[in-house]
Symmetry: C2
Subunit: 405 residues, 2 copies
Amino acid sequence: MALIVQKFGGTSVGNTDRIKNVAIRVAKYHAQGDKIIVVVSAMSGVTDNLIKLAKEIMPLPNEREMDMLLATGEQQTIALTAIALHALNIPAVSLTGAQAGIVTDVVHTKAKIHNITPKKIHELLDAGNVVIVAGFQGETKDGQITTLGRGGSDLTAIALAAALKADLCQIYTDVDGVYTADPRLVPSATKLAEISYDEMLELASLGAKVMQSRSVEFAKKFGMVFEVRSSLNENPGTIVKEETKSMEDVVIRGVALDKNQAKVTLVGVPDKPGVAAKIFKALGDATVNVDMIVQNISHGTGTPQTDISFTVEKADLLKAQKVIDGLKKEVGLRDVIIAEKIGKLSIVGVGMKSHTGVAGKLFETLAQAGVNIDMISTSEIKISVVIDLAKGEAATKAVHAAFIG
Amino acid sequence: MALIVQKFGGTSVGNTDRIKNVAIRVAKYHAQGDKIIVVVSAMSGVTDNLIKLAKEIMPLPNEREMDMLLATGEQQTIALTAIALHALNIPAVSLTGAQAGIVTDVVHTKAKIHNITPKKIHELLDAGNVVIVAGFQGETKDGQITTLGRGGSDLTAIALAAALKADLCQIYTDVDGVYTADPRLVPSATKLAEISYDEMLELASLGAKVMQSRSVEFAKKFGMVFEVRSSLNENPGTIVKEETKSMEDVVIRGVALDKNQAKVTLVGVPDKPGVAAKIFKALGDATVNVDMIVQNISHGTGTPQTDISFTVEKADLLKAQKVIDGLKKEVGLRDVIIAEKIGKLSIVGVGMKSHTGVAGKLFETLAQAGVNIDMISTSEIKISVVIDLAKGEAATKAVHAAFIG
């Protein structure tokens, strides 16, 4: 008899028919005698609609009240899911985040889980119930309703699994698991049976947004093994866990292409201490998330000058341009060049740590495919290059073929 | 500086524009330095939609889970109302029923308020906030979410006003107050400045459904004076309070016509002990709400027989017919006659207690208007007659003219 946490996202509970399907799936595990905790998100569209209502009243609504408002989405789904289990004659009880004992700090709209007191959950499980817990939400010590921010329901599931020492934590989503590349792009891409937390984190920060980084980080911190799998079929998914020795035999776990980046090049930046700091502090203050940064060598006469390139999400580009325009005179830039038609291609794998020549092989593969490299950035288990967007897909296929097959 | 409880129903908060209007109204009182508690219902349509979703999954969903589901409607409105007050620069904090300290029994979907611990409300009021409380809901001692059933938001408002010893409790609705008759029917009908709890209760149980009886009964029990008024204009409404000596000077407070009744006549009922009891117990068991009952004198040879007539809501007629059909043989009825085209005309007034000749005047007025009386029922402060539906409106006008003007 296993203790299992199963999490279903907004699409999986998007209407009453889908909620019934979730119940059927839960029922199968229940029939095996497992103890089951189900974590659900709001039905898809519900949260967006509530945000729209609030913004009709005020553009920047108070965050405590937004939490009060948005927490209702998950509360509706837990009740409907419990009812769907009752319809199958399975005893089930729903709990809000607060009732489930999920205590958070007071940072509304992006609260951190402080601790979990799963007394109520244990009582209900012991009495034979499936327990349905509202994802994405908790309560402060003094009874304020909080929400956990984007990806919060995954976090609820993983935190509950860790607190309850669950045997299994399953994150059901609309994809089959984590692939070696986007299967729409690379037909030969295969589903990974397992992946390490760090690899998953690198992939999450790239194009492959199966889960938010925060949940993976939480799982890594508590060593909570979990499985990402589809709510639409019975296929086994991808197990996410601490890296093992055997994982290092595989050099490259996945290839990802991020088409959502833009490149900003600052031409003729005075090469003196504090200038780069000033620029990136200003960008940070404006909540522009800078990804890769490359600084070329210094050149010119008089005050030496350099060029600095960095990438940002396309959504942040306008904000970034404003910041740079504001600094242009003060810093003394000669020019600003924006490139939107770029792609960021990355290869990820813990095997890189113990294998040499990975970068060389990557660059050679791209050269043979006629792809020019614009920027390079590396971490211990990842190499990213910025290339021409038009060549992104062909490059991804070539790199996947070279490293994975 | 007064302490005021203001309650707004689902139509008054039906969309974000209306919620903004509620905020503007609250702001006026706040500007006078009053301490204000606002109680709101779910936005109109929201509760019905949630019920529909639940019934798509299961025809008779579990009541605990229905409470979990339906409580979200009011929780959404409180957050949006708080945001609307913030937009006017007024400090406001929303509280769920549970957070407001409303403790109920565990009878899900129709819980009774057990007690109110308004500590949190007082703290927030003292800090200068408008406090927005979710109507219709509470929490059991062990943290289960409950709802109070139909008219529950009125009950929340009146119970809070009583617990906080509020100076004023205003029930905002889509009518101006309580009228001497339905103004669409009787153009000369006038709004009552005040009415006693008992008169309001009799009117509530008739056609004039301004409020559910339960809330009025609660107010009567705790002597909580409240005002029914419109959220669409600034007109003063009707004050509902304990009857005073001066109220008795007015013999008839209002005339009401209920077109929603049907009459069932059982012909040839054996006139022996226990037969009527059997019939009405069976109807009660089937949750048919029987209103008036009239039994004629006994006649016939052999076992004496009698005729029994009773009225039920048209909505309950089919259920009633089924019950009667099931009993027909067992009890030995000769025939069952259904009359759907009837109207129940009632006059209400505490003045009846100290004035004689009211019934005589009513019957005479109806006779002069050519209206035949089918059934009669009286209480201390009410006389009801069943008449032909086709003559209902003319009869109402005639009676209003005779008693009120």
